[in-house]
C-alpha cells in the first residue's frame, strides 16, 4: 500500500543526535523543495533532552497540498548510526538510504542512546532475518527489500572541504555534516543546486562564517553524488513545479503567534513548558508591531514564576481592557484551573492557548496526544461558562487565534484554544494569511458618561441584570465607572452577596452566555462536515490535529470507491449538539478517531447527541496519527472487522 500517486511526491526523513543540526538541516531541505514549487508538511520528533538523544524530522513533499505524515519513508538521510538503526526498516522498496560509510560496522549494543526496549526490538528484527547485529545488517535488510543505499565517507569529505576552504579547523567544519547529508539527498532527487544554496543563505544569512563553510560543504556533497554514483535508476526523482505563489512555510506556533498579533493581543504571559513556549518566544521576538496607521504597536510578553501567576497576571491585565492571553501545555493548564473559574465568575475575557502534549503528569513531555479535551471543558470547580475551540491545522490555528479573542470579548468569558504538538511543532506550506479580518469587542466602552452610572452612589453596574446575559464592560481606570470584582457571588456592582435570589439570577446570567454563544457562533466554527452532500452513510468524526491525516486517508478510500463523511468538531464547548446531530443524520457507521486512550470526543458525542459510537480508532503512544495507519484501520472497519476499538501504534 502506498500513498504515492506519482514520483513527484516523497516522504523524507533526517535524523541525528539532538543538538547536531537536524532541525536546521530539515528546514533547509523544506525550503529548497518549497522553492521548487512543492508543498511541504514537516513533523519534528525529539526526546525531552538537550544534547545527544535521537531526534528526527520527517518531511513530505508533494505536488498537492499535504498536511499529514505517512508511515513509510522514501528517503532516509543520516549521518549517525542510530538513525539507520531506528528507521531503516520503514524505508519503502525502491527507497534510498544515505549513511556514513565509516559507521558500517557499528554494533547495535554500542550505541548508548538506543534505549533497552528499542535495542531489543531492533535486535530481534536483525536476528529473525539472520543478519548481524550491526549497521551493515540493517542496510542488508533494506537492500533485500529493494532499497538503494549510499554510503558517504563524511570525514574524508570534510577533509576535502577544509582543503578547499584552506581552513584546518576540522572540528568546526564537521558541524556542517548535516548540510552535506541533505545536499546529497537533494542531488539524488535531481533538484537544482541553486535552490539549495538560496535556502542555505536564508537559514545562515546572518552568520557569514557559517554561511560560507556550509555552502562549500553543500556544493562539495552535491557534486560528490554526481561524480561517484550512478543515479539513473533512482525511482524518486522530482521535477520542478510552478512556483508556489504567495505561500509561507510556517509552524503552528508561529501561525498562532502571528494570529495573536493581528487579533490585537497586546499582553501575553507564560511559564516555560514544551511545546507551548515556542509561541511566546516567537511573539516576544516580534514584540514591536507594525500598524496600518504607520505607528508602532507592541505586545508585552511576561515570563512568570509559575502558571498560576501566568493566568492570574493575564486576568489582571485583561481587566485594563487589553486583549490578553497565556499559553501553556497540560501540566501548566492543570495549575490554571482555579483562576479560570475566577475569570468565569467575573466575566473576564481571556484566551488560554493550550498546546496539548502526552500526559498524564509529565507524561511524554515532547510527544503528541489529544488527551486534554475533557479536562479543558471541565477545568475549574463549580459551574461557569467557558468556550473551548480546537483548530485542525496550522492555517486554522492562525485564523482561530483571532476568533478566540472575539469570542472572549463578545461573551466576556475565558476561551481555551486547543492545539497540540502535532500542530505547534509541525511546519507546512500555507497560503499567505490574510490581513482582512474583523476584530469584534462586544459590549465594551472606555468612556462612561457621568449619568450612566446607575448603581448605588453612582457606581457602575458591571454585572447588570438585563435581558441579555452580557453586560457593558469597561476597563478598570475608567472615570465614572467604579465597580468591584470578587470570586464570591456578587451583586450587580460586584460586591459580595450570599442572597439566594441574587445567586440564582447571577448564575443564570453567566450560564446563559453559553446558549447565546451556540446561537451566534458561525456554523463552520462549530463543526465542519466534509462530503456531507455525498450519499456516504459512513461517518468519521474527530477533532484537532488528526484532520489532515483523516482527510487524506478518506481521499484515498474515495478513489477506491468507499466514500466516507468526515465531521471535524471545532467548537467543543458549548457542544454544538444540533450541528453534529444534523451531520450524523442517516449515519450507518460512526467511527470516532482520536489521539487519546479514552475516545474523549466520542463520549461527548454520545452524551450530547445520544448517538452511540460504533467504532473507535485511538492512539496514545505519543506519536501522531499517520495517514497510512488511519487508512488501514478504516479499511479494516469497512471490510467488516468486528474489533470495536482499534489502537494505532505507528511511529518511532
Amino acid at each position: 500500500m502506498s500513498f504515492l500517486a506519482n514520483a513527484n511526491s516523497i516522504s523524507w526523513l533526517i535524523g541525528g543526535p539532538q543538538g547536531s543540526g537536524v532541525d536546521s538541516a530539515a528546514n533547509i531541505f523544506a525550503k529548497t523543495c518549497a522553492k521548487e514549487g512543492f508543498h511541504i508538511f514537516g513533523k519534528r520528533e525529539f526526546y525531552s533532552n538537550i544534547k545527544g538523544e535521537h531526534s528526527y524530522f520527517t518531511i513530505r513533499i508533494s505536488e498537492k497540498a499535504v498536511s499529514s505524515q505517512l508511515e513509510e519513508i522514501n528517503m532516509l538521510v543520516s549521518f549517525d548510526s542510530e538513525t539507520v538503526f531506528r528507521h531503516a526498516d520503514k524505508v519503502s522498496p525502491g527507497g534510498i538510504i544515505i549513511y556514513d560509510s565509516s559507521l558500517a560496522e557499528t554494533v547495535l549494543d554500542e550505541v548508548p542512546s538506543i534505549d533497552f526496549q528499542a535495542n531489543k526490538r531492533i535486535g530481534k528484527l536483525l536476528e529473525d532475518s539472520g543478519q548481524p547485529l550491526n549497521l551493515s545488517g540493517m542496510l542488508e535488510l533494506a537492500k533485500a527489500r529493494g532499497c538503494i543505499v549510499y554510503g558517504l565517507p563524511y570525514y574524508e569529505m570534510i577533509e576535502a572541504v577544509a582543503k578547499n576552504l584552506n581552513d584546518p579547523k576540522l572540528s568546526k567544519l564537521s558541524r556542517a555534516v548535516n548540510v552535506m547529508a541533505i545536499s546529497a539527498s537533494i542531488s539524488l532527487l535531481g533538484i537544482k543546486k541553486d535552490m539549495l544554496i538560496s535556502a542555505i543563505q536564508e537559514v545562515f544569512g546572518s552568520k557569514p562564517k557559517l554561511l560560507s563553510s556550509n555552502i562549500e560543504a553543500a556544493e562539495y556533497a552535491y557534486s560528490y553524488i554526481g561524480t561517484k554514483f550512478d543515479t539513473k535508476n533512482i525511482k524518486y526523482k522530482i521535477t520542478p513545479k510552478d512556483v508556489l505563489k504567495d505561500y509561507v512555510l510556517i509552524s503552528g506556533s508561529q501561525a498562532a503567534a502571528i494570529g495573536k498579533i493581528l487579533g490585537g493581543c497586546r499582553f501575553q504571559t507564560y511559564y516555560p513548558i514544551t511545546p507551548a513556549s515556542d509561541e511566546s518566544e516567537f511573539l516576544e521576538s516580534n514584540q514591536i508591531i507594525d500598524q496600518v496607521d504607520g505607528k508602532n504597536g507592541s505586545v508585552v510578553v511576561v515570563q512568570t514564576e509559575d502558571e498560576i501567576a501566568a493566568i492570574t497576571m493575564a486576568i489582571g491585565a485583561s481587566l485594563t481592557g487589553v486583549r490578553t492571553a497565556t499559553a501553556t501545555s497540560g501540566p501548566g493548564f492543570s495549575l490554571m484551573a482555579e483562576a479560570l473559574g475566577w475569570a468565569g465568575m467575573n466575566e473576564v475575557p481571556l484566551v488560554v492557548t493550550m498546546y496539548q502534549r502526552a500526559g498524564p503528569s509529565t507524561g511524554l513531555p515532547t510527544r503528541h496526544e489529544q488527551s486534554d479535551l475533557l479536562f479543558a471543558i471541565n477545568a475549574g470547580h463549580g459551574d461557569f461558562p467557558k468556550i473551548v475551540l480546537a483548530s485542525g491545522d496550522i492555517e486554522e490555528a492562525f485564523y482561530d487565534s483571532i476568533k478566540v479573542f472575539n469570542f472572549a470579548e463578545i461573551y466576556q468569558l475565558p476561551v481555551i484554544h486547543l492545539l497540540d504538538k502535532a500542530i505547534s511543532s509541525s511546519i507546512q506550506t500555507c497560503k499567505r494569511f490574510s490581513n482582512d479580518l474583523k476584530i469584534e469587542r462586544g459590549k465594551f466602552k472606555s468612556v462612561i458618561d457621568k449619568n450612566q452610572s446607575e448603581g448605588t452612589a453612582g457606581h457602575f453596574q458591571r454585572f447588570k441584570l438585563e435581558d441579555s446575559p452580557i453586560s457593558m464592560r469597561v476597563p478598570i481606570g475608567t472615570e465614572n465607572a467604579i465597580f468591584w470584582n470578587t470570586g464570591d457571588e456578587h451583586t450587580e456592582e460586584g460586591h459580595i452577596s450570599e442572597d439566594p435570589e441574587n445567586r440564582n439570577k447571577m448564575m443564570d446570567k453567566r450560564m446563559k452566555k453559553l446558549d447565546l454563544a451556540l446561537e451566534k457562533i458561525a456554523e463552520n466554527d462549530k463543526a465542519i462536515c466534509y462530503d456531507f452532500e455525498s450519499d456516504s452513510k459512513n461517518v468519521v468524526i474527530s477533532w484537532g490535529s488528526t484532520k489532515g491525516a483523516i482527510l487524506e486517508a478518506l481521499e484515498k478510500l474515495s478513489e477506491e470507491g468507499s466514500k466516507l463523511r468526515f465531521i471535524q468538531v471545532r467548537l467543543l464547548h458549548p457542544f454544538p449538539t444540533e450541528t453534529v446531530k444534523k451531520f450524523l443524520t442517516d449515519a450507518k457507521l460512526v467511527i470516532d478517531v482520536e489521539m487519546n486512550y479514552s475516545s474523549q470526543l466520542g463520549s461527548l458525542v454520545q452524551q450530547n447527541t445520544g448517538r452511540e459510537i460504533d467504532y473507535k480508532i485511538v492512539k496514545y503512544n505519543g506519536r501522531p496519527m499517520s495517514t497510512t495507519e488511519i487508512y488501514i484501520a478504516l479499511k479494516r472497519i469497512l471490510s467488516g472487522n468486528n474489533e470495536r476499538r482499534i489502537i494505532l501504534d505507528g511511529g518511532t
Partner: protein
C-alpha cells in the same frame, strides 16, 4: 476639580470584621493615604487576596478587585504592567502572601513592578477559624490550636529583602498615623514596596494582643512600656543613595527583622530606587511603553479592521 474628602473613599458596604479587629486601622490608613494624596478615585485600584483582609476593597470607594487565595500579587502586577497609569495597591493576609502565595512574593521581588503591597500580619488564618499562619512562631499555641505550632515562622522582612523588594517597611495597625505615612511612602516608591503590618486578631490570637503590643502584660514592669519602637526615631535611615550601601544595610535589616518580644522595630527598613522597575526594563525593549502601554493601544479601526499589519513577519516566512 473638587477636593476629595476622606468620606469619598468609603463605601456603604456593611463591614463584617470582628469588633476590635486590627483590619479597621489598616482600612482607615489606606483611605486616609488616598485622600491625602488626592488620588482620583477611578485611577486607584485595590487588589486583595482571600481571607478577612481580602474584603478590604469592598469598603474602599475606588476600583476593587478581590482575587484568589495567594494570587493577589500576580493579578495586581498584570494590571499595573498593562496600564502603568493606574495607582494599584495590593493587600492580603499573612497566610495569603507568605503561605500559599509565597512563590509569588519571591517572584514579585524579582520583577519590581511599581506596586505597594500590604500584608495584614496577625499570625492566624482568621476566616477559617484561627489556624496557625506562616508568621506564628514555632511552639506558640494560640487559643484555637489543638497543639502548639509545629511549623517554624517565616521572616517576612528578610524574605522581602532577599527576594529583591526595593522598599521594605513595617507598621502597626493601631498606630494609624504611622501606618498612613508608611503607605504614602510605599505608594510613591518607584518599584515593589512591601509593608508588613502588625495587627492583633482579637478573636483568635490571644498571645500577641493589643495589650501585649502595648506592653501591659509584662510581668516584671510596673509601668507599661510599649514593645514597638520607631527605627527612624532611633536614628536609622533606610534609604539607599548609592549601591555600595546595600551590603551594610543588609545586616541591619536582618538584625531589625529578628528583633521581637520586648523590642519590635517599625519604620522603613530599606528603600532602593536605584534598581530599575519592571516597567523601565520593558521600556528598554519597547521604547514607547510608557506613552503607549498595552492598555493605551488601538487594536482596530472604526470598521473593526485590525490595526496591526503582519506583512513584514510573513515576508520572512515567504517561500520565494
Amino acid at each position: 476639580m473638587a477636593e476629595l474628602k476622606l468620606a469619598d473613599y468609603k463605601t456603604t458596604v456593611h463591614n463584617d470584621w470582628c469588633p476590635g479587629c486590627g483590619d479597621f486601622g489598616i482600612l482607615s490608613a489606606i483611605q486616609m493615604a488616598l485622600s491625602e494624596m488626592q488620588i482620583p478615585r477611578h485611577k486607584a485600584v485595590i487588589f486583595s487576596g482571600i481571607g478577612c483582609s481580602g474584603k478590604t476593597p469592598h469598603f474602599i470607594n475606588v476600583y476593587g478587585i478581590h482575587t484568589l487565595h495567594g494570587r493577589v500579587l500576580p493579578f495586581a502586577q498584570g494590571a499595573k504592567i498593562a496600564n502603568p497609569d493606574l495607582e494599584i495597591i495590593a493587600v492580603g493576609g499573612d497566610g495569603d502572601g507568605l503561605g500559599i502565595g509565597a512563590g509569588h512574593f519571591v517572584g514579585a521581588g524579582r520583577k519590581n513592578v511599581d506596586i505597594p503591597y500590604l500584608i495584614f500580619n496577625n499570625e492566624v488564618y482568621g476566616l477559617t477559624k484561627g489556624q496557625a499562619s506562616p508568621t506564628l512562631r514555632l511552639g506558640e499555641k494560640t487559643k484555637s490550636l489543638v497543639t502548639p505550632n509545629t511549623n517554624n515562622s517565616v521572616n517576612p522582612i528578610a524574605l522581602a529583602f532577599v527576594s529583591g523588594f526595593t522598599f521594605i517597611a513595617r507598621s502597626y495597625s493601631y498606630d494609624v498615623k504611622h501606618l498612613k505615612d508608611t503607605i504614602k511612602r510605599a505608594i510613591t516608591h518607584k518599584g515593589i514596596a512591601f509593608v508588613d503590618v502588625l495587627q492583633p486578631c482579637p478573636t483568635y490570637d490571644d498571645i500577641h494582643t493589643r495589650e501585649w503590643f502595648q506592653g501591659k502584660n509584662k510581668p516584671d514592669s510596673e509601668k507599661a512600656v510599649p514593645r514597638i519602637y520607631k527605627i527612624e526615631e532611633a536614628g536609622y535611615d533606610g534609604i539607599i543613595h548609592d549601591e555600595s550601601e546595600v551590603n551594610e544595610k543588609m545586616s541591619k535589616i536582618l538584625e531589625f527583622s529578628s528583633e521581637w518580644g520586648d523590642k519590635i522595630p517599625i519604620g522603613i527598613f530599606y528603600q532602593n530606587e536605584l534598581v530599575p522597575s519592571y516597567h523601565e526594563r520593558i521600556a528598554e525593549n519597547i521604547k514607547d511603553y510608557f506613552a503607549r502601554p498595552p492598555s493605551n493601544q488601538e487594536i482596530s479601526d472604526i470598521e473593526n479592521k485590525p490595526a496591526a499589519r503582519i506583512d513584514k513577519i510573513l515576508d520572512k516566512l515567504q517561500i520565494n
